[in-house]
């Protein structure tokens, strides 16, 4: 059955619609627009500002002129610029012209600036001036460089760079298969789009996360101490948001109190302040709760006998949980989760599914006191046919050790420790 191809991508469940060719063409057009806009604005800035300024400083001929009269010129928007009528001689021929003071001849909203310049020139007096040998009627009374004539060039250059790169990409990939593009980009030394990629990959385990990032910390009892996945930065981020939010509450609150003191009674500001205060109180409660949890539920240490792990391998795990609390339920688990990110319109969404969970340690109803941490040792067996850790641009398979607890008078807590399980090699399989 014939169907029109969608020119835009759309994710429907597990299927993404849309035309790759139309997508590439749209990207090419977008880049071409940027590139063209950059070229046009570069030419405009060069011709209007940069080159005239350069020529005024290098090519204009110096002479002495007599001031005849002055005036303030204005454009349709009311911006002003100074204009000075001068008389001077070029090759023994007398010339009279209106000078715009400098070569930029820019109209400025600040009228005081124009007046200040005009005060410098009095009719009948003489001063230095510079005229264009190509067009003697173009004359300036001031030379020098303005920052905007040169700094403004950065904008079109950025447009040309981005647009040019996009356009080059569109041209280079046009009519080429996704496999050919991928093969070329994966093999960066191969730039001619013709040679095949090497058959053997450079990495021993492609698309398996690097385990060495997790092997930084040696353990006290076992080989490695695992790094917690739930980092301290999340508490720090809450602290920053809490501080900024409540600073805004203080500033607007002070403005509101002052308005009522002065008898102005700004009710709109008071109304705007209500949700702001509620948000501030909520962020403060969240931050204090985090601090109390961190103080009472002490650090969790997990150590492992070897890393990365291999399917079919058996490993030792050591756990230490400090704190001052009464624990209702405590679990140490080996977990595997699938993670997928996908675009829905302008949003990026994430989906997670747990596909493996095995309890390694499970305890109920015990107390933790200061200086007496809860310690446990366990054996971890990775199933022989387990999927290895996998990490690509939008999809991941994550293995981790999860420590979860239900405690009295406190919300439950969960701390994760990422691990890497790499696939078995052919040699290992045969051994």
């Amino acid at each position: 059955m014939f169907r029109w191809s969608l020119i835009f991508g759309k994710k429907r469940g597990e299927r993404r619609t849309g035309s790759t060719v139309a997508g590439r063409a749209a990207l090419g057009l977008f880049a071409a627009f940027f590139f063209t806009a950059g070229i046009i604005s570069l030419v405009f800035i060069l011709l209007k500002f940069s080159i005239p300024e350069w020529r005024a400083n290098h090519n204009f001929a110096e002479t002495t002129c007599q001031i005849i009269s002055t005036r303030t010129a204005a454009d349709s928007a009311g911006a002003k610029r100074p204009e000075i009528e001068v008389a001077y001689t070029v090759d023994d021929r007398p010339q009279t012209a209106w000078s715009t003071y400098d070569i930029a001849a820019v109209y400025q909203a600040d009228g005081a600036f124009t007046e200040k310049i005009l005060e410098e020139f009095t009719a009948g007096t003489e001063c230095d001036c510079w005229y264009d040998p190509r067009d003697p009627q173009t004359v300036v009374l001031a030379r020098g460089y303005t920052w905007f004539a040169w700094l403004m060039l950065l904008v079109p250059i950025a447009f040309i760079s981005l647009g040019g790169a996009g356009l080059a990409l569109a041209v280079l990939t046009w009519g080429k298969s996704t496999e050919r593009i991928a093969a070329t980009t994966q093999n960066t030394s191969n730039l001619d789009f013709l040679l095949p990629t090497p058959a053997a990959p450079a990495q021993p385990f492609p698309f398996v996360p690097d385990p060495h990032q997790l092997n930084d910390s040696p353990g006290t009892f076992l080989s490695y101490r695992l790094t917690p996945g739930t980092a301290v930065w999340s508490t720090a981020a809450i602290a920053v948001v809490c501080a900024m939010w409540n600073l805004a509450v203080i500033v607007f609150g002070r403005m509101c109190v002052l308005s009522f003191r002065n008898g102005e009674r700004d009710w709109w500001l008071a109304l705007f302040l209500l949700p702001l205060v509620a948000g501030g109180v909520f962020s403060l409660i969240l931050f204090v709760r985090r601090l109390l949890i961190a103080a009472n539920i002490g650090p969790t240490l997990v150590e492992i006998s070897a890393h990365p792990l291999v399917p079919g391998g058996t490993y030792e795990i050591y756990l230490s949980q400090a704190g001052r609390l009464a624990v209702k339920k405590f679990d140490l688990k080996l977990v595997c989760e699938e993670n997928a990110t996908y675009r829905q319109g302008t949003n990026t969404r994430k989906s997670t599914r747990r596909v493996f969970e095995e309890s390694l340690v499970s305890r109920e109803s015990f107390k933790l006191g200061p200086g007496v941490p809860f310690e446990a040792r366990a054996r971890l067996f990775v199933p022989y046919d387990a999927m290895h850790s996998f990490k690509a641009g939008h999809n991941r398979v994550d293995w981790k050790i999860v420590v979860a607890g239900d405690v009295e008078r406190w919300p439950g807590f969960e701390r994760t420790f990422p691990i890497v399980i790499r696939p078995r090699k052919l040699v290992e399989d045969n051994s």
Partner: protein, 133 residues
């Protein structure tokens, strides 16, 4: 013109491989379309299916072009071999699937393309099931 005009087959008709094993396949263009073929691309690649946006990577790629100076008879069977990598293994998850395949793409005159694909399994990871809370 139909997809059957591109022929792609695995050596010994194997469709399951272990990491590090060598995959051998044979391909050629059919009699009716071979005159129109300007180039053939053979690739071994993996791609993801499921809830997330697609990821894919090419493990092996080879392009054969014909020209007046060096004409190629695409009706002649061509064989290629590649040693398969250690990862990623084929995977049937709940929201993620990793598929390996050999893909043959023919570029015809007037900008048309034909694609023939054969999937295979790398490794023996069983189907995953969601853990209920």
């Amino acid at each position: 013109m139909t997809l059957a005009e591109l022929n792609l087959s695995f050596h010994d008709e194997r469709t399951e491989f272990a990491p590090g094993e060598t995959l051998t396949a044979e391909y050629f263009a059919g009699e009716s379309c071979s005159a129109e073929v300007e180039a053939l691309e053979i690739s071994v690649l993996w791609f993801t299916e499921g809830k997330g946006d697609e990821d894919f990577a090419v493990h092996y790629f080879q392009r054969t072009e014909t020209s007046e100076a060096a004409p190629v008879d695409f009706r002649q069977p061509r064989q290629f071999s590649t040693m398969l990598p250690n990862s990623p293994l084929s995977y049937d998850g709940v929201i993620l699937r990793i598929r390996w395949c050999v893909r043959l793409r023919a570029f015809l005159t007037r900008g048309k393309q034909l694609v023939e694909q054969r999937t295979f399994r790398l490794g023996n990871v069983p189907v995953a099931r969601a853990v209920l809370p």
